[in-house]
């Protein structure tokens, strides 16, 4: 029977587009025949800001890219600057950096689980995720004074040392999380309705996943065993014992499970860091004061106002919770970067979505979209 297709405009204001994303769908009844993604509603010109601000001043702006997990953004930019200028980083600072980044991975995946389940109609999981996230955010608050926009990592180290009582609280958090994950798995993983909604939905095979530029957990759900922490170990990852979580199915459920596994792996990494954390400086002596004592807001980092790395270009990438996060920084020898380009994981992962959902239904689009785990601040920059 000949049927007329219907143009459905989903977004930019829609409950499950995770912000301001717009799908232009051509529907045959409930079946998606064509899917176009329109982005850019949250474009703030972050790359242009990069050219206008000094190397130090740009760090707070990177917090606002992927605001669910801002620490890796901080680090990815700082890493690029460090590679450009050849700055040494003390061991303790590296450990603290990895600690905060892995903690952020846990947070990101908790929010992912919550919002995915919320997209599917189960509204309880997001509250559980946020309940545990709150504990982690309080750790961050005690560490750097902010809960989401940290501005904590500096070229040459970190802003401040860990506060008193941080490690015991972190241990408590890890212990608590290990128990809570069991709860989540019982609540979600075996649920038949959840399986019905996730299995064989939004399938993408390994080759396509790579070709479409997917990275991170979304790609590892398709059976590609690649993790930048393993491929090009940065910071102290070569000293740590962890594995890149991987599933073969390539469907939404696989992508979900990869992230649940990653929470466990991250907790495992955190435990190792707590054991191994060395003593020493938290910032390269050239870029910091000797630590002040006493006062709670004692500042230990002092970045020189005239910081001019030599002319050059660098592309440096890390494994952010959402995928490969890269910063291309070009310097022309002045105090400001000549060009900053952000390769954001959300942006590139989104390219593959239309490929996944053609021929499926609207609820499947929501489910597949939820498992790609994007943040609009990261997509639009």
């Amino acid at each position: 029977m000949e049927t007329e297709t219907l143009l459905l405009n989903m977004g930019p204001v829609h409950p499950s587009t995770h912000g301001v994303l717009r799908f232009k769908l051509r529907m045959d009844g409930e079946i998606i025949r064509d899917c176009q993604i329109v982005v850019g509603y949250l474009h703030r010109g972050t790359e242009k800001f990069g050219e206008m601000k000094t190397y130090l001043q740009f760090i707070p702006y990177t917090d606002r890219l992927d605001y669910i997990a801002a620490m890796p953004n901080n680090y990815a930019y700082v890493k690029a600057v460090e590679e450009l200028a050849g700055i040494e980083v003390p061991q303790r600072a590296e450990y603290i950096r990895v600690l905060v980044m892995e903690l952020n991975r846990v947070i990101n995946h908790l929010v992912f689980m919550g919002s995915l389940l919320l997209d599917l109609g189960a509204s309880t999981m997001i509250m559980y995720g946020f309940r545990e996230r709150e504990n982690a955010l309080q750790l961050y608050e005690s560490l750097c004074g902010a809960r989401m926009t940290f501005n904590y990592i500096r070229p040459g180290g970190v802003r401040e040392d860990l506060p008193d009582g941080f490690i015991p609280k972190l241990n408590e958090f890890i212990k608590d999380m290990e128990k809570r994950i069991v709860d989540y798995e019982e609540l979600v993983n075996g649920n038949e309705i959840f399986l019905m909604r996730m299995k064989n939905i939004g399938v993408i095979n390994a080759e396509e996943a790579i070709n479409y530029g997917m990275t991170g957990p979304s790609m590892r759900g398709s059976g590609v065993d690649h993790d930048i922490r393993k491929l090009e170990p940065y910071s102290i990852y070569q000293d740590l014992d962890f594995k890149a979580c991987m599933r073969r199915e390539g469907d939404s459920y696989a992508r979900y499970l990869v992230r649940v596994d990653e929470i466990r792996e991250s907790l495992h990494i955190l435990k190792q860091i707590v054991d191994k954390l060395p003593k020493g400086n938290t910032i390269n002596q050239r870029y910091g004061f000797a630590p002040n004592t006493g006062a709670p807001s004692a500042v230990t980092s002092y970045f020189p106002r005239i910081f001019t790395p030599a002319e050059g270009e660098v592309y440096s990438r890390i494994e952010a919770p959402k995928g490969e996060l890269g910063f291309f920084v070009a310097s022309d020898g002045t105090t400001k970067p000549y060009r900053v380009k952000i390769r954001s994981p959300s942006f590139c992962n989104l390219v593959a979505l239309p490929k996944m959902v053609l021929g499926l239904k609207i609820p499947d689009l929501i489910a597949a979209f939820g498992t790609i785990d994007i943040v609009l601040g990261d997509v639009d920059r």
Partner: protein
């Protein structure tokens, strides 16, 4: 034919007990307007039911939010009244104060009419619902059939609302609601028929009366024990009929924004809201009536059976409502085609099988025991 006593008889009995009935009746008879008295009593009944429904709806919306909050480690509404009990009233006042928007391209008449049809059709279900011994508005001889027929009006009005809104999301929500309702009324009716086979009557009061007493002295003669499969099917069909998670396609917030009432605001929105919770109560009451023994329960000395039966009915109904809310807090939503698949390919065959089983039981096993 002997009809079961209903609320009309009860009111007259109460008036008699106080000793004023004859005086009032005499007054009206003098005027030659006996029918006016009948109308007044019926209007009183209707007023009681409407007020009861509204209060229940408010309480249920509070309960739902509170349940949600407790499950999610939160407090829920706390400020308005003791533990936030008056929050629904505050919400109602807020909704009354909202601008009543009718979209420019909407069909004005149908758009305005639809919420009222939904609400009235839900209220009509209360008529043959036995709240307790003789606490029933009217014991229709075709009570069960009537309930199924009336609940078929709801999707029609939802379709009206969705169509009149002139919004693609509303239309899709409405189409889903109708598809869902058609496919779930059938197993609903078939499982209900299985119970009717035991009772031999469509009257809700007869169904409850058939469940009085005990087997072996301690197992109540509820149909849930004779028809466990029927109960599960009926429960699933009812949740689908109510349009609650996991089967809330008519709204399905994350997919269709708010489904058929996307365009509604203010009091019209409140009407849908009221209808939803009134429906929840009514359908839970039906489940209790058919499978959980209705208002039956051990008699307590010194307290009139009308009161104890009402209490038993409420306890059971709220247990069912609690289960529906508990389920909503836990599970995600099914996909629409999966739901239809479940309805047509699994539930209808199972319901038919269950009917066959019931007929077998009636014919060969418990003919004497239950009837």
């Amino acid at each position: 034919m002997i009809t079961n006593p209903n609320a009309y008889d009860l009111i007259i009995a109460i008036l008699n007990a106080i000793g004023v009935y004859n005086i009032i009746l005499g007054f009206f008879q003098d005027q030659g307007m006996e029918y006016v008295l009948r109308i007044i009593i019926v209007l009183v009944e209707v007023a009681v039911v409407v007020v009861f429904a509204l209060v229940t709806v408010m309480f249920l919306s509070w309960l739902e939010r509170k349940m949600f909050a407790v499950v999610q480690s939160r407090y829920g509404p706390m400020v308005t009244g003791p533990r936030g009990l008056f929050q629904p009233i505050a919400d109602g006042i807020k909704l009354l104060g909202k601008e009543d928007i009718i979209p420019a391209k909407a069909d004005r008449w149908i758009f305005t009419l639809a919420p009222f049809i939904v609400f009235v059709s839900v209220l009509l279900v209360f008529i043959p619902l036995p709240f307790g011994e003789s606490l029933i508005l009217s014991d229709l001889r075709v009570g069960l059939l009537y309930i199924i027929a009336i609940s078929a009006i709801t999707p029609v009005s939802i379709l009206l609302a969705g169509w009149a809104s002139n919004n693609k999301y509303s239309l899709m929500g409405a189409i889903r609601a109708v598809a869902q309702d058609i496919s779930y009324t059938i197993p609903l009716a078939i499982t209900a028929i299985a119970v009717v086979v035991f009772v031999g009557s469509l009257s809700t009061v007869d169904i409850v009366n058939a469940q009085q007493g005990y087997w072996f002295g301690f197992i109540p003669k509820w149909f849930i024990f004779l028809q466990p499969l029927g109960f599960i099917l009926f429960l699933i069909a009812c949740i689908a009929e109510m349009g609650r998670i996991p089967f809330d396609f008519q709204e399905s917030e994350q997919e269709l924004v708010a489904g058929f009432f996307t365009e509604y605001s203010g009091m019209k929105f409140a009407m849908f809201f009221l209808a939803e919770y009134a429906h929840l109560f009514a359908v839970s009451g039906i489940i209790v009536t058919i499978f959980l023994g209705g208002w039956t329960g051990p008699a307590i000395p010194l307290i009139p059976i009308q009161i104890t039966s009402l209490i038993y009915f409420m306890i059971k109904t709220y247990a069912v409502i609690f289960f529906a809310m508990w389920l909503r807090d836990t599970v995600p939503r099914v996909r629409i085609d999966q739901l239809l698949h479940l309805g047509w390919k699994i539930m209808i065959p199972l319901a038919l099988l269950n009917l066959l089983f019931a007929a077998f039981l009636v014919t060969f096993v418990v003919t004497a025991g239950v009837r």
